[in-house]
Symmetry: C2
Subunit: 278 residues, 2 copies
């Protein structure tokens, strides 16, 4: 792992790091914010998975999480959304290929060689963090994310019971099986057999028995993607049917941007802190 | 004035606007954050002048001011740092020409036609704000800024006694007469006669009798520009000699970036609020 830069910020250290990923076969860049802490102390970890077109940089620059994480004593980690580089295949659309990994392990050519973001986020990067950041208490992890990254947070949380003490999301894609973004991405990465898509669909995972102890979601009512792509109502129904206590908050006037995310970031950090810090 | 976009954020409206400036002879773009307020209410205004290379966008995206301004009930305005456009003369350096207006009215060719940021910030934009934003209480204004914009805030505050109830700065250039950035910019915009530079030099203005009722400055100790360009010590001495009560806080480990600015933004907003909201 190499350090790209570190900056002192909000009484902690905001770093950006790069490493060669075996999962994706490429260099991968991510950011980590570590609040000041006593020597030998360990702090819980909150993962933030970003949305379409984003890198680690969007939330790192615009997410407004540092004050809340410094106050609560939480490490904040922001990975990239896909492999990058000239050797990595891409698509003309913003919603497939680079910047659009969808947190799946692709099975279809030419994507399968590099687009293995599920393994990267579930296995490789946590192992790297545990090895490189002794301050990180990997027994206390929470996960959240935005849009495609909200989909990532929900599905990764649902597939790994006990791994994450807390799961939340900002304007998540709740059912890739039922929206154009999902049709394109999962069809491309996984092929036409929709049975293979189910483990990457939060609503389908819940319907088939996966559970979260509780859930916090914020969704802007003025979000242009709400009705065609995000379909928050499907998650409301799935949680209700499954008996998952879910605070799914519709926020009047808010859209899909970081102006929305940053508004509710401190709420989410505090919510995770309640579950990560006993 | 045209609206570029508005976004709901932190319980208020973050807007970006453009207008044709008579001061600069160009289109100018600025941002305004207006917290929610009762109909007919007026809110005080805090100006933020940005540093070299910046537009309104840097602080608008990375400044983390909205939560604090919404809480205090303060309007936050971020102008551009220079005229823009193909017809505007420029320099190869990042520290002169576009993105580097230094908040002066240039007198030298070819700069004098467009580079009139003093008139723009002191006269034209406040008049536009008063006309277009009835919610803005122009009898209660504060001003702050970063680096070149800290220089702008200090000199504009010092030259206009009674106009601003509160003046603060982040890592300001305190004496353009005594640093390479100032030598290049004021020499270029105002010509070689340094007598003409004095009204654009905070330390010189104080030495010649200009006063602030008090002052808050934050300056990172790990700022690469501290010793050659910013020279905070000159401001400390000038304020001490003049009897200006100044909290000039050296912040260990912090640099010149928005990771620093965002850390202390809430402090500055609260400090201005104490002076703007009786």
């Amino acid at each position: 792992m190499d350090t790209v830069f570190t900056n002192r910020s909000h009484g902690g250290t905001q770093g950006v790091y790069t490493h060669q990923s075996s999962a994706t076969g490429t260099a991968m860049t991510f950011s980590v914010f570590v609040p000041d802490h006593a020597e030998g102390a360990q702090l819980p970890v909150l993962w933030f998975l970003s949305g379409l077109t984003c890198t680690y940089a969007n939330v790192t620059e615009k997410g407004e999480y540092r004050a809340a994480c410094a106050k609560a004593g939480i490490i904040f980690i922001a990975p990239d959304t896909s492999p990058r580089g000239d050797a990595v295949p891409d698509d003309d659309g913003y919603d497939f290929g680079k910047g659009a990994g969808f947190y799946v392990d692709a099975t279809q050519a030419p994507w399968a060689a590099n687009f293995r973001m599920r393994t990267y986020i579930e296995e490789e990067l946590p192992a790297l963090i545990a090895a490189q950041f002794p301050v990180a208490d990997m027994a206390r992890q929470g996960i959240t994310g935005h849009s495609m990254g909200g989909h990532g947070a929900l599905t990764i949380g649902l597939r790994n019971p006990g791994r994450y003490r807390s799961v939340s999301a900002f304007s998540p894609i709740v059912s890739p099986l039922n929206c154009p973004w999902g049709e394109k991405a999962l069809g491309g990465y996984l092929g036409p057999d929709k049975a293979a898509w189910r483990e990457y669909d939060a609503c389908s995972l819940i319907e088939h028995g996966a559970r979260l102890s509780d859930l916090l979601v914020d969704q802007g009512e003025a979000d242009n993607f709400l009705h065609e792509q995000l379909k928050t109502g499907l998650l409301v129904m799935a949680c209700r049917k499954a008996g998952i206590p879910a605070a799914i908050r519709m926020q009047p006037g808010y859209d899909h941007s970081y102006y929305f995310i940053s508004t509710f970031m401190a709420d989410h950090v505090a919510w995770h802190a309640e579950r990560l810090i006993a």
